[in-house]
């Protein structure tokens, strides 16, 4: 067990990358605390699986190094790194029984019979698969198969990190929730570092203590689920996390003030030195329908159960607002107010305001 450090990691699938666009991963520096539960969140093709495969050793990075504790493992094979990986669809050995599946990684490492028996029964109990230990693994349901492939990683008590590569893709929706809470529980019991790769924000936010959000091979923000929601460092994070995502509105800057559709908008605090094209970022949750404020026309109201999602148009710009209890009718004219401490300016995508102390 050790801390995992990625140092100046870059990877390209091309033999001779020429520009930044040829890199699937662009300069990653990251440290994963020992025993942490992490999620790697991003849309398909953002490089998260590439990063995962570099950590597990299935892929050698073009540049940079991977450290487990003090040891440089960049060139080590997967079996020399003491890692475990759970794949998108369950990988099990069809012809073996569940018990043989769980025993397999230990046997290959020459662990003695008594330890094997103890570990297997512990893990089987943890995963609640004890009663199927002697059935053939091929006949199990997908969620049980996925449990077994997790179990093959967890039986080894020396794993540095357990990695999950979108492990719930093939699981029925009603079992996803169950398996997800099982995972969380397992993390608390085994205390191993876990990295969970997904493009599903719910999975990431419920599993992880800390979420790493990636886009186009770059880490855009690392933070707790609350931080990602409350204070996105990049418009991508704001838009990707949350449903509906953050409103990103064009604006002009006049000194320290933001002008949106001709109206003065109060921001959370002073602008930073960053420059680039300015945009206002505000989550729909922080836009309220009030008696004064920005005049807007409601175009659509959707009742999603817990609240109403209001589509409105201010000047020529569309935006979304969320209202808890009541909602105006579509077509009506209303006034909107932005909550000042949640209204920020982003320049070229990156946050450009500071919170007022």
């Amino acid at each position: 067990m050790a801390e995992i450090k990625l140092s100046h990691l870059r990877h390209s699938y091309l033999p001779n990358p020429s520009g930044p666009d040829d890199y699937a991963l662009k300069e990653i520096d990251l440290t994963w605390r020992d025993g942490g539960a992490y999620a790697l969140l991003g849309p398909s093709g953002c490089g998260k699986s590439t990063l995962l495969n570099i950590i597990s050793g299935l892929l050698a990075p073009s540049e940079g190094k991977v450290f487990f504790g003090e040891q440089d493992v960049t060139t080590l094979a997967p079996n020399e790194r003491n890692i475990a990986q759970v794949f998108q669809f369950p990988v099990i050995y069809d012809t073996m029984t569940v018990r043989q599946n769980l025993t397999f990684p230990l046997k290959n490492r020459g662990v003695d019979e008594a330890t094997i028996a103890r570990r297997v029964s512990e893990i089987a109990e943890m995963l609640e698969v004890t009663e199927m230990l002697d059935t053939r693994a091929a006949g199990l349901s997908p969620d049980n198969k996925q449990k077994i492939s997790m179990g093959r990683g967890l039986v080894r008590d020396d794993v540095n990190v357990v990695m999950f590569d979108e492990p719930l893709t093939v699981i029925d929706p009603h079992l996803k929730w169950k398996l997800r809470s099982k995972l969380k529980e397992l993390h608390q019991r085994v205390q191993a570092t876990m990295i969970y790769v997904t493009h599903d924000q719910t999975e990431a936010l419920t599993f992880a203590d800390e979420v790493v959000v990636m886009q186009d091979g770059v880490v855009v923000q690392i933070g707790t689920p609350v931080e990602l929601f409350e204070r996105p460092q990049h418009t991508f994070v704001g838009h990707f996390i949350g449903s509906p995502g953050m409103n990103v509105l064009p604006c002009d800057l006049k000194g320290d003030r933001a002008i949106f559709e001709g109206y003065d908008i109060t921001l959370e605090g002073p602008l930073t030195a960053r420059d680039g094209a300015p945009q206002i970022g505000i989550r729909p949750e922080y836009i309220s329908v009030t008696s004064t404020g920005l005049p807007a026309t409601v175009t659509k109201v959707a009742d999603v159960g817990r609240h109403f999602v209001i589509d409105a148009i201010v000047g020529n710009t569309k935006l979304k607002a969320v209202s808890e209890h009541t909602a105006p009718d579509a077509g009506s004219s209303v006034h909107l107010t932005f909550k000042p401490d949640q209204t920020r300016v982003y320049r070229d995508g990156w946050i450009a305001t500071e919170a007022r102390k």
Partner: protein, 286 residues
Amino acid sequence: MRTENQKAWFFVLPVLFLVAFNALLPMMTVVNYSVQETFGNNQFFWEGLDWFEQILRSERFQAALGRQFLFTGIILAIEVPLGIIIALSMPRKGFWVPVCLVLMALPMLIPWNVVGAMWNIFALPKIGMLGYFMNDVLGIHYDMTQDPLAAWITIIVMDVWHWTSLVVLLCYAGLVSIPDAYYQAAKIDAASPWSVFRYIQLPKIKTVLTIAILLRFMDSFNIYTEPFVLTGGGPGNSTTLLSIDLVKIALGQFDLGPAAAMSLIYFAITLAVSWVFYVVMTKDDQ
């Protein structure tokens, strides 16, 4: 509302006619011949099951059947492991994949009698390249026209050359369909190459391998053209396999009754062995 009518039968009917004329009727003719004696002139005499008894008791049939099982057993024992090994060592991606596939498919594209003729010329002592090389360069006595052992080796090598590709291509198709994650998981589990073969590759190619073995069994058990052109069943009767013997009885001696009985026995054996093999191979899947 679901409308029910019998129109679907019209779609099946043409196939039914075709099958009747190319399989069912000829087969029933054979059954007809197998229980009667004929001296020509369309005169038939009832014989009952006499022909069947005669064939089953005849040493000639038993010897040919023995040779047939020996031949099929040997070529399966060579072609199946060899085919798996070649399939495992073929590249999975890149420039060499189509090259390997075409080279592998090539022997199977050659007509059977051409294969026989090719190997005949190739293996003849003095004239053929192989025959000349063995006898005059290496100094090993090799004459498939005189020596039964040499004849057997030649037909077996010819069949391996001609048909191993079938096993290779089917196994290869099975192997490339295994997702990478299985190999990655095996690496992480520290599995040995043998374990990877035994627990991942073999189970995943089992279905196609079963089909490959079935096809090779049926084809080799019914083999006629290649050994007939190569050795004509000789020297003596040493390479007279079942089908060659059958043609000798039916067309050479014109003993239609015994030949028909033998055909049916031959068919029953092929069917029974294939069925038992298939049931045994697939019983785990239920």
